[in-house]
């Protein structure tokens, strides 16, 4: 099939960008969205033009590297699917497809469709971890975890940190990401010692990175390729209120924000 593409091109972080039109010929419905872009890039390179820069890595839907706002929806029209797992059979011959980078002040464009998502790394570094002794591993059943808790923790841990939640949010809020990380550890016994400090630090860091606030549009939940629930946002809020009341957590800040 033949597709008309409108793609954001921007040579560098400080350069001005603009939408440009391209035509993708001979697209097979079995191609993934990224393979379709690979074909377009091959053609551009043959003509001596600069290929379109986009993020990708595992192409298996598990690494969180691919992004792309496709026709106004992060990762395109299919639910619970990353861009790399989106196939061209989701489109029809003659379609016009708009492809843009994630848009948020916290995620500046580095080039074309690639944005800098290091604010997420700093949010994790500020508190999204547990302190555990290293050395020989203890028995797997030494710490018991109730099955419902482990299920909910695993659901939250499915977050791959792609940033689709921020991209989809009309406020550019990072609450779904941050809450998934807070809930994932907060639901498990191993996460308890640092629970207050974790939520205080991660929310503080999230705000420092200049993401917007959450107003519960729930667009993030719909856009999330891993179907992270907004229930996690309520868990984060509960933890933050609890930590404020208990007043035992120390805020840890990562440098480099903003």
């Amino acid at each position: 099939m033949k597709l008309n593409l409108k793609i954001w091109r921007q040579p560098g972080p400080a350069a001005a960008g603009a939408m440009q039109s391209y035509v993708a010929n001979d697209v097979s419905e079995h191609m993934s969205f990224l393979e379709m872009l690979d074909v377009v890039n091959e053609e551009l390179q043959t003509k001596g033009e600069e290929p379109i820069a986009f993020d990708h890595d595992c192409r298996e839907g598990i690494c969180g590297t691919c992004s792309l706002m496709i026709n106004g929806t992060p990762h395109g029209p299919k639910r619970a699917t990353t861009t790399c797992q989106l196939h061209m059979r989701s489109f029809s011959d003659g379609d016009t497809i708009t492809i843009e980078p994630w848009r948020a002040k916290a995620f500046p464009v580095l080039r074309d469709l690639i944005v800098d998502r290091s604010p997420f790394d700093r949010i994790i570094a500020s508190g999204g971890f547990i302190s555990a002794p290293t050395g020989s591993a203890q028995d797997a059943n030494a710490i018991l975890v109730p099955k419902p808790d482990s299920d909910l923790a695993m659901d939250a841990a499915a977050c791959i940190g792609c940033g689709a939640c921020v991209a989809a949010c009309p406020n550019s809020s990072a609450m779904l990401f941050t809450s998934a990380k807070v809930a994932h550890l907060g639901l498990l016994p191993q996460g308890q010692p640092e629970r207050d400090q974790r939520v205080l630090s991660m929310v503080h860091q999230m705000d420092l990175e200049e993401f917007g606030g959450c107003t519960l549009f729930a667009e993030c939940e719909d856009a999330c390729p891993k179907e992270i629930s907004v229930e996690n946002i309520a868990r984060l809020n509960r933890d933050l209120i609890r930590a404020t009341v208990r007043d035992r957590g120390q805020v840890h800040v990562e440098s480099g924000a903003g």
């Binding site: 409108k6 954001w8 939408m19 706002m69 026709n71 106004g72 929806t73 708009t98 843009e100 848009r103 948020a104 002040k105 916290a106 989809a168 009309p170 406020n171 550019s172 809020s173 609450m175 929310v203 503080h204 999230m206 705000d207 200049e210 993401f211 917007g212 606030g213 959450c214 107003t215 519960l216 549009f217 729930a218 667009e219 939940e221 719909d222 856009a223 907004v230 229930e231 946002i233 309520a234 868990r235 984060l236 809020n237 509960r238 933890d239 933050l240 209120i241 609890r242 404020t244 009341v245 007043d247």
Partner: protein, 218 residues
């Protein structure tokens, strides 16, 4: 106190403040709705209810000051979060689609502005009588009948109640989320409660201008 200010300093804390002040305003509006529909039994019921409130003296002013503080905190937090959201996306999308966001959630900000304008008008209209020629102190029932003789005013009240209902439906559900009150067993009931209260309060209040438009008070 420091902890409260630290909480207010976060985006989540501002939402907590909005949820808490919102709940106070909802409780007020529930009582306001119940007392106002007394007009359908007998307009003089409204007069005696107003006299009862007046008899509270200083306590009435404490309640008024508390409500005013809630309104101001609610607006301050909303303003700051709105400005933050605007700054958070300097370049907008060429193509963007809402997939699940409800009309109620998308009209929280402008609907809130409308409600603020409405509240100011409403107080000048019925409480102080500034905007209602012929207003008589203490004769609440008559003032209501007089005020709603104007068709544009009655329509403005109806539109405001529509947006009050929308604001409630998203706000109540959001307040549960913001205060961290969620549980799989009750998550459906939260939505139902939000819509039920929105319908009861906004719908209940809207019956008065609607009845006036239909000629009930003539």
């Amino acid at each position: 106190m420091n902890r409260l200010f630290a909480l207010w300093g976060t985006t989540v804390g501002k939402k907590v403040a909005m949820a808490a002040t919102g709940i106070v305003m909802i409780l007020f509006l529930i009582s306001h709705m119940i007392s106002n529909v007394l007009i359908f039994r007998n307009p003089e019921h409204l007069d005696s209810y107003a006299a009862l409130l007046r008899s509270l003296g200083p306590a009435l002013w404490v309640a008024r000051a508390g409500l005013l503080a809630c309104v101001l905190i609610h607006i301050a937090a909303a303003w700051q979060l709105t400005m933050l959201a605007r700054r958070a996306r300097p370049i907008t999308y060429a193509h963007h689609e809402y997939r699940v966001a409800t009309y109620a959630s998308r009209t929280m900000r402008w609907g809130g502005v409308l409600l603020f304008v409405f509240i100011v008008f409403h107080i000048l209209h019925f409480t102080t009588g500034t905007l209602l020629p012929g207003w008589q102190d203490g004769r609440v029932g008559d003032n209501v009948k007089l005020g709603f003789q104007s068709v544009p005013v009655a329509i403005f009240y109806l539109v405001a109640m529509l947006f009050l209902g929308l604001h409630f439906s998203h706000g109540i559900w959001s307040a549960f989320q913001t205060l961290g009150l969620n549980h799989p067993s009750y998550n459906r009931s939260r939505r139902l409660l939000a819509w039920g209260l929105a319908l009861a309060v906004a719908g209940g209040l809207a019956t008065i201008p609607a009845a006036a438009l239909l000629g009930y008070f003539k």
